[in-house]
């Protein structure tokens, strides 16, 4: 067990925890966009900045990538931290100005979008390249359908060769974790469409009510992964008819 100080108060933490998780577990709010407790920390959005004092060294750092270390002092609301979060949000907001979550966070951090004549920020496609979808697809689903490509401002999240990804099972985990809502999933009768990945999947139809209810690829993947063939019949019926 590790003991560390956050905002002057002592807290206990597990050895492999990161500072953000320790704070969140104890009800201390630190804004973040690219962190999810079920996924490995990435440190891309740079929003979860805190000030850490370790010995004589004081540093501004992202709390999601900083390990819980015995005896350190963490400050989550110093003027430096607030300035960093506000300026980060000013950079992030124009990337996804339509996203309610981003708008709300920007308001809270004092980073209102200024459509000034002086600035000519390019409007993004709502993707902030936080990589949550990539990590979820790899670490939770286990199919690694998407990845980052290119570098610098050209960086983007794409399936291989930007072609329709055969490995995508249409489970929608990426849609669920995306903080800006830039990944959409539509069910169009017997097809499911994920516009961003150019993926169109056939839906499995319920044997009873004839309603399409799950992508066939997802059922196949589930059966293959679990190796449990007894479930085949179970998937013949939709949740409503089971």
């Amino acid at each position: 067990m590790i003991t560390l100080t956050i905002n002057g108060k002592k807290y206990e933490a597990q050895k492999n925890q990161n500072l953000l998780q320790v704070a969140l577990d104890n009800g201390i709010e630190i804004p973040h966009l690219c962190y999810h407790e079920k996924l490995s920390p990435y440190g891309g959005c740079r929003l979860c900045q805190v000030e850490v004092t370790k010995g004589k060294k004081v540093e501004l750092t992202t709390s999601c990538t900083y390990p819980a270390v015995q005896g350190i002092q963490v400050e989550t609301e110093t003027p430096r931290v607030q300035r960093a979060r506000r300026l980060m949000m000013k950079l992030i907001l124009p990337m996804a100005p339509e996203s309610p979550k981003i708008q709300k966070l920007a308001r809270e951090l004092g980073a209102e979008y200024i459509p000034s004549s002086c600035r000519s920020r390019e409007k993004g496609d709502s993707c902030i390249k936080c990589g949550l979808c990539i990590r979820a697809c790899e670490e939770l689903v286990g199919v690694s359908t998407i990845t980052f490509s290119s570098k610098g401002p050209e960086r983007k999240v794409v399936p291989p060769f930007e072609e329709e990804p055969e490995s995508c099972i249409g489970c929608g985990t990426c849609v669920h974790v995306c903080p800006t809502g830039c990944i959409t999933m539509e069910d169009l009768g017997r097809k499911r469409k994920l516009e961003r990945w150019k993926r169109i999947l056939n839906m499995k139809v319920c044997n009873d009510c004839s309603n399409p209810y799950i992508p066939a690829a997802q059922v196949d993947y589930y059966l293959k992964r679990t190796g449990d063939t007894t479930l085949t019949e179970w998937f013949d019926l939709c949740p409503d008819c089971r």
Partner: protein, 617 residues
């Protein structure tokens, strides 16, 4: 060649090589570095071979291909030993004359000697040339004596003696102590004490340990690591092997960017030769020490030079930096303790072992011992690679070695440390160049790039150039770096187009701050330096662009216009001929004028004018 299995084997070989050496016999050393090669030094070599054979001198004169000598702008360079007669900008057709006059008649070919661009004085011997005279080339100097593709050349110059001594006579702790005592600091830029890094790696728990040479040099205009690896690869390998012994590593990597084909060729050859000679591999010189080296090619991303990104790249992932709360010395390559050092750092090691920490400490300044190789480029008279003791003032570098500013213009600033270094103005020219002083001035040592700018350089434009470079080279992981640099570039671009506003300076300051403070790796954390330092030292120039829509240096095209001074113009019509948009108006013989409605500000008229009549405002 038989494998060397003991130190006495090696000493025997060194004696044999020394006995073959005839001090009186002329040796023509010919630079085959990338710079000289581009000017057909390969053909010059062939021309020499032919001419020597023709005159029956093949047995009397040795011909040697060497690595880069450093004075690349004067290449191809030939030095004739033992007199050290130096010929510059040699062409294949000059060879018969050189052989006739210098090798047969023992005279110099005056027209090929270095001519000082300011005084017009000619220098016959390499050591008299000011560019070389004020340097202290303890590391780089060997480049001109060895053929990088021939291990025996290196061994003949006491090469691998330091390794032999270390692994057979000293225990690893002793080697480590010597490097620590020498206080060698990392030449990659940060200046971290190498001995302490090695010690951490040595003491870190783990069976397997690694050593890595970082040769992913990617700064625009900098090429010292390239030239060392091309010109003297065994020096780097020897240093690496000594380090591996001190640390307890059995495996090493040399990570070379793929844009350096000759460096790759030479280091690969060197590794192979060292293996054949038993200087790498199992049981080196019978000492029981095993050490193997693999050369890895980088895929060309600038950010891969960052240590954690480089480690990712060797592991086979994309070269993307990782958080370094756990040091690579403790958990690096494949999670094992790893010491990663720059090419030049490793090249310093054999020297320290051969001559001792005391000697090493006598060069350079107090906390910055040893020498540093810089790439001196830009608006100086003499450009090239130079090696000086740390602590040498910038003024000496620029005026003594560099020969001052080109065309008698005024010095404006020097940018040190590569694209994310800062621009240092005139008032700080007497500051000694070392790791600590450069960062105090808002710049950095970086890998050792030094770009000199004169009064005709626009500092806003310079900052814009570096932001453009860094914008493209950011890996894109941290939003602060990816978007921060991009926005700084956009604002700077607008200012240079005359569309800047008062608020821009404040915005730039904020963006520079967030990029520096919120980013993960050194690329992002130092990327703002060109902006911060130019805002600090050249703020008036920014204001002139924003308020008066005027570029004082006459660089930013949108803010300048060309005109013709009727007093100087004699109406020769040269400018009219070269102008591609017919903006030059007037009759031949009478003073001419420029129509600014058509002018695209390419400046070709100014270059063409022989009477300095074209003015920029």
């Amino acid at each position: 060649m038989n494998r060397l299995t003991s130190v006495s084997d090696m000493e025997k070989l060194q004696k044999e090589l020394a006995s073959r050496n005839q001090p009186e016999r002329p040796v023509v050393t010919l630079c085959q570095g990338t710079g000289c090669k581009a000017y057909a030094s390969g053909k010059i070599y062939k021309a020499f071979e032919k001419e020597l054979a023709l005159r029956g001198l093949t047995q009397k004169v040795s011909l040697k291909s060497t690595g880069c000598h450093g004075f690349c702008e004067q290449g191809p360079i030939i030095v004739i030993l033992p007199e050290e007669i130096c010929y510059c900008r040699v062409k294949p057709e000059d060879i018969p004359e050189i052989v006739e006059k210098t090798l047969v008649e023992k005279k110099t070919v005056d027209r090929l000697l270095f001519t000082d661009p300011v005084s017009g004085e000619k220098f016959a011997h390499e050591s008299e040339i000011p560019f070389y005279k004020y340097q202290r080339r303890v590391i780089f100097g060997k480049n001109r004596l060895v053929d990088p593709q021939n291990i025996e050349d290196y061994i003949g110059l006491e090469g691998y003696s330091a390794l032999a001594h270390a692994i057979t006579r000293l225990n690893p702790e002793k080697v480590l102590l010597e490097v620590k005592k020498a206080n060698l600091r990392g030449r990659g830029g940060a200046g971290f004490p190498t001995g302490i890094k090695w010690e951490t790696t040595r003491n870190a728990p783990g069976e397997k340990k690694y050593v890595i040479v970082n040769a992913d040099e990617g700064d625009p205009g900098a090429y010292m690591d390239r030239s060392l690896l091309e010109g003297n690869p065994h020096l780097v390998l020897e240093g690496l092997a000594i380090g591996a012994y001190a640390i307890g590593a059995r495996e090493g990597f040399v990570f070379v960017r793929q844009e350096y084909p000759l460096a790759l060729e030479n280091i690969n050859k060197a590794v192979q030769q060292a293996k054949e000679y038993g200087l790498l591999g199992k049981n080196i010189l019978g000492s029981g020490f095993d050490f193997d080296v693999t050369v890895k090619r980088g895929a060309g991303a600038f950010v891969s030079g960052e240590s954690s990104a480089l480690i990712s790249a060797i592991e086979g992932s994309a070269g993307e930096p990782r958080p370094k709360h756990v040091n690579a010395a403790v958990s690096g390559l494949w999670g094992s303790p790893t010491s990663l050092n720059n090419v030049e750092t490793w090249a310093n090691v054999p020297l320290i072992m051969n001559k001792g920490a005391g000697w090493y400490g006598s060069i350079g300044s107090d906390k910055n011992p040893g020498t540093k190789i810089f790439s001196l480029v830009g608006k100086v008279n003499n450009t090239g690679l130079i090696e000086v003791p740390l602590g040498t003032p910038l003024r000496n570098i620029i005026y003594d070695i560099g020969g001052g500013i080109k065309d008698g213009k005024k010095f404006k600033a020097v940018q040190t440390g590569g694209p994310s270094g800062g621009c240092i103005p005139e008032q700080h020219l007497d500051v000694p160049v070392d790791f600590d002083r450069l960062s105090q001035m808002g710049s950095m040592m970086g890998s050792g790039g030094m770009i000199v700018m004169d009064e005709k350089s626009c500092m806003v434009d310079v900052a814009k150039y570096f932001m453009q470079f860094l914008k493209e080279e950011s890996c894109g992981k941290c939003i602060s770096c990816r978007a921060g640099i991009k926005e700084m570039h956009e604002i700077l671009e607008r200012i240079t187009l005359g569309e800047g506003c008062e608020k821009d300076l404040e915005q730039l300051t904020d963006l520079a701050w967030i990029t520096e403070n919120a980013s993960l790796c050194a690329l992002g954390r130092t990327a703002s330096n060109p902006v911060i330092s130019t805002l600090k030292y050249f703020r008036e120039e920014y204001k002139a662009h924003i308020r008066e829509k005027h570029c004082p240096a006459g660089v930013c095209k949108a803010l300048i216009h060309y005109s013709i001074d009727p007093e100087r113009c004699n109406g020769c019509g040269r400018c009219q001929k070269v102008c591609s948009v017919e903006a030059v108006e007037g009759e031949k013989g009478a003073p001419i004028s420029i129509n600014n409605d058509f002018c695209i500000r390419c400046g070709i008229c100014q270059e063409a004018c022989r009477f300095n009549a074209v003015m920029v405002e």
